[in-house]
Structures are given as C-alpha cells and as structure tokens.
Symmetry: none
Subunit: 238 residues, 2 copies
C-alpha cells in the first residue's frame, strides 16, 4: 500500500534532485563543468560531503563524470534510457526486425572469426536445441535462443554480444507467445532443425555469404509469421 514518505527526503536526495533538474532541463548542457564542491555546498545550504554524495549518485546514474583536479562534468542529459522497459513497450514486429538485422550481420562476422571453441559451443547448442524439442515451449525457446546467442558470441564483438543480450528477454517472450499461438512444433517434430544445422555448418566452413543467407531466410520466415499473427490478432496490444 505504501502511504508515501511523510518525512521530507534526505538532504542528499534533495541535492541530487536539484542537480539533476539543472542537467535535464538543459540549464547545464553536456560538457558543462559544475561549480566546485564548496560553492555548491554554499548554494544548496548543505555540507560538502552531502554535495559529494549527490554528485556520486549522478555519477552512478551516468549523468556526470568527475575528474580529480579538473572538476565535475556533465556527460549525458537523460537518465540512461531503460532498454528492457523500452523493448517491452515496443511492438514485437519492430523488435524482431531489429533483431534480424543485427543477427544476420553477426552471422557473417561469426563465419569470418569463429574459433575452434566457438565451433564446439555451436555444436553443443545445436544438440541442446534438438534435445529440447521434446520439452515444453519455454525450454525449447530457451535452447533456440542459446544457439543464436552462440552464433553472436562467435562474432567476437563485446558490444554486439551485449546488444543481443539486451534483446533476449523481449525475444524470449515474443517467441514463447508465437510458439504458443500458432501451435508450432507440436506434431511438426523439430521445426527449423535442418536450417539451424545448415547455419552452423556455414559458420564452421567460414562461408560468410551462406551463413548470412541461411539466417536471413529463417528469420524472415519467422518475421512473416509474426506479421500474420499480428494481423490476425488485430489491434490486440497491451
């Protein structure tokens, strides 16, 4: 129930809010050097350590950056966009489209850079996907995503790996819904197993073009299913 704070928030919180407002309102654009600790303390009517902690909170949020001897600088004006929340709000089709676009190129890079360890991981993930075909929807989707994640990991680009990881939760839910909605996989044996095996083989051979085409084909197919499902469901958004 939470009746809300009866007591005014702490001085540090108040100071943090005041500073944040200066930044988000555009009063202090990116690059601005904040006034010194002692100055801020006097202006805000609080102690120096209070100001330090407020600045530290903003630093943790990624809004400012401190440099010893130089000062505190604004490095961002927005509260570090919450991607998971943003992806939850976005249409599944849009999320999936971007996923396709990222992953297809990742497959190309993977074919060029895969190591022996990557190949072993890919075969293991492929086997895991086959095994999970008999399990429930969630387990199958997880195994499927694990295989795709292994492909992305083989591209050896940490930013790319992070980016894909960001999409996984939204992807997982979307795929579970899709599998459930279309009654896929039940009676179909192990849909896409041959395609996935072909993808792994292409990456293993180092055939970038084939890896790209194979994955593009698979994802386009799923994307088409998603579009159909979205049309069939009409405007049934959350």
């Amino acid at each position: 129930m939470s009746l809300g704070a009866l007591r005014p928030s702490s001085l540090v919180d108040q100071a943090t809010r005041r500073l944040r407002e200066q930044i988000t309102s555009g009063e202090w654009p990116v690059g601005t050097r904040l006034p010194g600790e002692t100055t801020l303390a006097k202006e805000l009517g609080v102690g120096r350590s209070t100001v330090r902690e407020a600045v530290r909170a903003l630093s943790g949020a990624g809004l400012v950056q401190t440099r010893q001897g130089a000062g505190v600088f604004v490095v961002a004006t927005e509260p570090a966009e919450d991607w998971p929340a943003r992806l939850r709000r976005a249409a599944v089709v849009h999320v999936y489209e971007v996923r396709t676009l990222v992953e297809v190129q990742a497959a190309r890079l993977a074919a060029e850079r895969r190591t022996d360890a990557d190949i072993a991981a890919l075969h293991e993930a492929l086997a895991g996907r086959r095994a999970a075909a008999a399990g429930d929807d969630a387990a199958f989707v997880d195994a499927d995503i694990a295989l795709h994640a292994a492909v992305v990991a083989a591209a050896h680009n940490p930013v790319l790996t992070d980016l894909f990881a960001e999409f996984v939760p939204a992807l997982r839910q979307g795929l579970i819904d899709l599998v459930d909605l279309l009654g896929l996989r039940h009676g179909d044996g192990n849909p896409g197993d041959d395609t996935h095996a072909a993808l792994v083989r292409a990456v293993e051979r180092g055939d970038a073009g084939e890896a790209r085409r194979t994955l593009q084909g698979e994802l386009d197919h799923t994307l088409a299913l998603l579009r159909e499902a979205a049309q069939a469901a009409g405007s049934a958004g959350p």
Copy 2:
C-alpha cells in the same frame, strides 16, 4: 587522444566495483541487507565516507536502496542497463563495427519504406552536411551524424531509431577524435560528399541493394581508418 588511465581508479570506484560484483554475481541477491558502513569500511580497508559514496553510486544506478536506521538493501541485480556508460568503456572499433552493421541494414529498409517527407529531410540533411564542411570539426561531425540519423529514421522502426540514438554520443566523440587525429577534411574539401549524395539518391529511388552497398562501402572505409589509427596508437585502450 586519450592514452587510457595510467593511474588506478579512485578508491570509491574500486569500492563501487567490488560491491557491484557481489550483487551482480548473485552473492547478494535482491533483498539482502548489506553489512554496515563501518564493517564495510574495515573489510575494504577504506574510510567510512568512501564506502558511503560507493553505496551512493550504486543507489544512483538503482541497484541498492538505503533506509536510515535500517541499512542498505539490494533492490536489483542488474546494472540497470546503462548503455551510454557501456559504450564509453567499449573500444571505438567495436562500437563502430556494430554501428555499421545496424546502419547498413537500416539503409536497406529506408530504401523500401521512405516517404516524401523522409526524402525532403534527407536532402535537407545533405545540404546541411555540405554547409558544415566549412565549419569546425564538431559541427561537421554533427551534420554528418544528422544525415545518417535521417537515413535511419526513414526505416520507420522506432526500436531501430532508439538504438541508433543510443550510439550517437559514442559515435560523435569517436568521429571527432578521428577527424582531429588524421587531419581529415582539411584541404580535402568535403570528403565523402559524393558517396553521401549517392546514398540519398539510392534511398530516394528505392534501390535497396544500391543503398546498402553504398553505405557499406563508406562505413568500411572509415572502419579501416579507425583500425589503422588504433594500431598506430599502439595498445592505448582504457
């Protein structure tokens, strides 16, 4: 050029890292009460104010929450996905590689979906880039990014637009450094103007393949420059 930190990070940063690890590793799951400030100070071998600031940084990042008189509690185990910070830490080459990979596909989509309004915006951005060629480095880079952003916007996928926006700050700094480092543009007139014009024409004509190839060529060229610069600078990563 940023030769990376020669000096070990501050004690507060180290303490923050240590505490964050305890949380993200699962050692301290959600709901855990952290040891008291004095205890932590003794365990980490730092002063109480240092611990307080570290906790405040985590609080700003949304990982913990403090309650006066009660203690500090873990409220989330994920680093509250801070992409700007993550991108700042990442190598420029990796960031740029992902940017290429995303944007090239975006160009393809843009060619298929652009509206009349998009075309007008593209021409305006192209003109802006030409005008800014006479200005300073930052202004030119901004105009260049604006053109690329217009291409991405023409793909009409909000997730994609958001994603590109996330990359802009890191991209901007990287490009400014590159232009500054290589002395590009000075005496070169307006480098890449013909390529950019060709890209806009391809999108306008709806020629997806040509748009993709043109942009891929341009970005690969810049990526090659970045790799050279990184090699020339030796191992100067943060």
